[in-house]
């Protein structure tokens, strides 16, 4: 659904309130919830993927070369990756003042 939810009319709804766009929740930004942000030190990363497998928010991507990248659009700042990284390659830092985007 392209419309914001407060503009959806009853006529826009599918029969039975069915949602027929699988995975469309990915438009929803959960990154706003963060008060702290993960900081990744590539030098310390052994490319084991541990952070990736434990992320409850699918906010860690494994890049083609095996290193990782946080997806701050989704990262809620829980800090699990920091705890689980075997080499201490990720730390949490205070989220700076949020700007417009």
């Amino acid at each position: 659904m392209a419309k914001p939810e407060n503009e959806i009319t009853w006529k826009d709804l599918n029969v039975g309130f069915v949602v027929d766009e699988p995975g469309n929740a990915s438009v929803y930004r959960t990154g706003d919830w963060r008060s702290q942000r993960p900081l990744y030190n590539r030098e310390r990363c052994i490319r084991c993927g541990t952070c990736y497998i434990y992320c409850p928010d699918m906010a860690i991507k494994i890049l083609e070369d095996g290193y990782i990248e946080h997806d701050l659009y989704y990262c809620k700042g829980c800090g699990i990756c920091v705890q689980e990284c075997p080499t201490g390659a990720i730390t949490m830092v205070e989220e700076e003042e949020k700007d417009g985007d």
Partner: protein, 315 residues
């Protein structure tokens, strides 16, 4: 020793499919291990899957209209009837495939619910579905209380835990009953596969889901899903807490495959339960006496489980 336990393969995470069937944008709390467990389950059950989901945290955080985190089809109907809905899906698909109305295809029907939806209000429907022998998987995501409604106690809340309806009071110190042993209840239905799992052991969890989906007939998986909000622990420690639950013997990982018990991780020495309790606010009020009482019980239960393994060993 089981090859799917995480410490035996630090690089195993790289070998897991990067395809997600449960996508980000879901609204679970920070550090929610239940969301992680759902993610891992979905990775294991993959694309040919239909989900029946109970009312509860998962339903609320995964599919607030008009959005859904699910890439696979799913239905939510009510709180207590997930197993029945799943058995209906299974029966429906079976009938229309047999009658040639849709092509024959292996589709995993997976019912998912929380501990309340499983061991309390949904127990009857689950028992019925397991007894009828539908070819389906039922996964209980156990966060040990009614978290979605605000941390009320369930029959799955452990002894001593403080919840909003079993508060640690001046006279009654939290939950006064022992956690209902749901996996054993499932196993008593003599179904082909029962397992316990925890997302702190992701490869083990995924392997168990895969196995459950493959096995013909009903399968039950009980997943301890750490809830930082309800357990009052820092969100970054939810994986750690799950590991401690296992290593203290509070939540042993095991399988019951066609009646045979098998420990997924056989611990030569259990860590003291206090290590597990210390990091959680819900146990903060426990006296030494209560901890000792729990410790004794955990050891006894673990020994009982080990005996079952011995007794049902092949040959």
């Amino acid at each position: 020793m089981d090859k799917y336990l995480d410490r035996l393969g630090i690089y195993a995470a790289r070998l897991v499919s990067q395809k997600e069937y449960f996508v980000p944008g879901h609204r679970a709390c920070q550090g929610c291990a239940e969301a992680l467990a759902v993610r891992l389950m979905s990775k294991a059950s993959r694309t040919n899957t239909v989900i029946a989901c109970a009312t509860g945290c998962i339903e609320i955080f995964s599919s607030p209209f008009p959005l859904t985190s699910w890439m696979v089809p799913g239905i939510h109907v009510a709180f207590e009837n997930t197993a029945a809905v799943a058995s209906g899906i299974e029966s429906g698909l079976k009938a229309i495939m047999r009658k040639g109305r849709i092509p024959l295809k292996k589709i995993n029907v997976v019912g998912i619910a929380g501990d309340g939806g499983t061991s309390d209000i949904g127990l009857q429907a689950l028992s019925g579905a397991l007894e009828r022998g539908h070819n389906m998987v039922y996964v209980c995501f156990d966060n040990e209380a009614y978290m979605n409604t605000g941390i009320q106690r369930s029959s799955s809340t452990p002894f001593g835990a403080s919840t909003t309806t079993s508060p640690a009071g001046k006279v009654v110190p939290g939950q006064t009953t022992w956690k209902k042993n749901m996996p054993e209840i499932a196993a008593a239905h003599d179904i082909p596969y029962v397992a316990t799992a925890c997302p702190s052991y992701p490869f083990d969890l995924m392997e168990k889901v895969r196995k459950a989906a493959e096995i013909e007939g009903p399968a039950y998986i009980h997943i301890l899903s750490v809830c930082p909000t309800g357990w009052r622990l820092p969100p970054e420690l939810s994986i750690h807490a799950g590991r401690l639950a296992v290593e203290t013997g509070v939540f042993p990982l095991y399988e019951v495959e066609r009646g045979r018990y098998k420990l997924s991780i056989d611990l030569p020495e259990l860590r003291p339960v206090q290590e597990y309790f210390r990091i959680q606010g819900r146990f903060r009020h426990l006296t030494e006496e209560m901890v000792n009482k729990i410790q004794r019980r955990v050891r006894e239960e673990y020994e009982k489980l080990k005996k079952k393994v011995m007794m049902t060993r092949e040959g």
